[in-house]
Point group: C2
């Protein structure tokens, strides 16, 4: 779900790995989705959010967090029920200028709001802490770095770890932060990410968790 840089990167990676992918968008005739599907070849399709969700075993929410609940309502609760729903979104509010504020934070998060609105979906927050290029090609950075997952469904998290491994993320690079309420952590990291982007001069970076030396 989503036709922007994140949706395109995830969809292309999944298609390259041999998965059947439907890029979902608000309308059936979305031009970017149609172009993506034509270029991505066999197994690639496009359709409405509802069509994409209905066909899918696993759904990536790559819409902007500020519109994700609307987009998922358009997808339809019945089409999401029982499915792993990987929430990659960040809710950014540009109304006060740049860098943006978050649309929600502190006492809730987009990930939690999605899980509450769609209790039969198996929501896993993941990948919202890195740029789209790093999401699907973590080896482009120099040295180990980490990605975070959280969610209330252990089997769904395990499935996401396997998917991340297929993207190139070493399994030991994936840090499980706990239940979906922990999504507040990676979502609230984004204001630091936005300022680091300025400080390091680009969006292709990530953080590694550094611990004491092994005893």
């Amino acid at each position: 779900m989503g036709t922007g840089a994140v949706g395109s990167a995830i969809a292309s990676k999944l298609a390259a790995l041999g998965h059947e992918v439907t890029m979902g968008s608000r309308t059936a005739a979305n031009e970017r989705a149609a172009q993506w599907a034509a270029a991505a070849g066999a197994g690639a399709a496009h359709g409405t959010f509802a069509e994409a969700a209905a066909r899918a075993e696993l759904v990536f929410n790559c819409t902007g967090g500020e519109v994700s609940l609307d987009a998922l309502q358009a997808a339809g609760a019945a089409n999401l029920a029982g499915k792993v729903l990987v929430d990659v979104s960040n809710g950014l509010d540009f109304s006060q200028g740049r860098p943006p504020n978050l649309t929600v934070c502190n006492t809730t998060s987009i990930g939690e709001q999605i899980q509450q609105a769609f209790p039969d979906a198996r929501v896993v927050k993941a990948l919202n802490t890195v740029n789209h290029a790093v999401m699907v090609d973590p080896g482009r950075l120099a040295g180990p770095h980490n990605v975070f997952i959280c969610g209330d469904d252990a089997a769904a998290k395990a499935a996401v770890v396997e998917l991340l491994a297929s993207f190139g993320w070493p399994r030991d690079a994936v840090i499980d932060l706990g239940g979906i309420a922990a999504a507040r952590g990676p979502e609230m990291y984004v204001p630091l990410w936005l300022r680091l982007m300025g400080a390091v001069g680009g969006a292709e970076f990530n953080i590694a968790v550094v611990r004491p030396p092994a005893p």
Copy 2:
């Protein structure tokens, strides 16, 4: 300013480096401050926030962010004017349980609120993203890791970089995020830090910013 684990760690490190240190607290007879000063030896003293600030060339705010404005009012604007004020604080709200929420975030930060309330102080946000032991002994972790500074006064930031270097932080480990409004970034990282503490099983860790390999 502050007699907790953070204030004690910073005060002890400064004293060990040969600085004259006054540990400030709300009352002149604070037992922990008196014990610290007695144990820390020559050059170590204790007193009220106002006494400590009046004597200081440079002030560390190691009070809890939720009470920092009150503590700094007690210190007195005149005693802070023209001085570098290193704000190490985090505003934690435990009223909803653990992990705590932040008292302020998103559209403001403790660092900004302090700068606004004390316009003649030269506020630099620093070190709030690591545990007190890591603050003053960054070499205890395995491999390079980063610390963030921000503030509106370039000379004040440069002075803090030198102080951090004396604590053991390599100068190239210190990332300048910009003006004091950037304090939202490191302050809003704390909810992720709190969940990482659970995931990694302890408070002694930090993050390193990992970039693409040099061309």
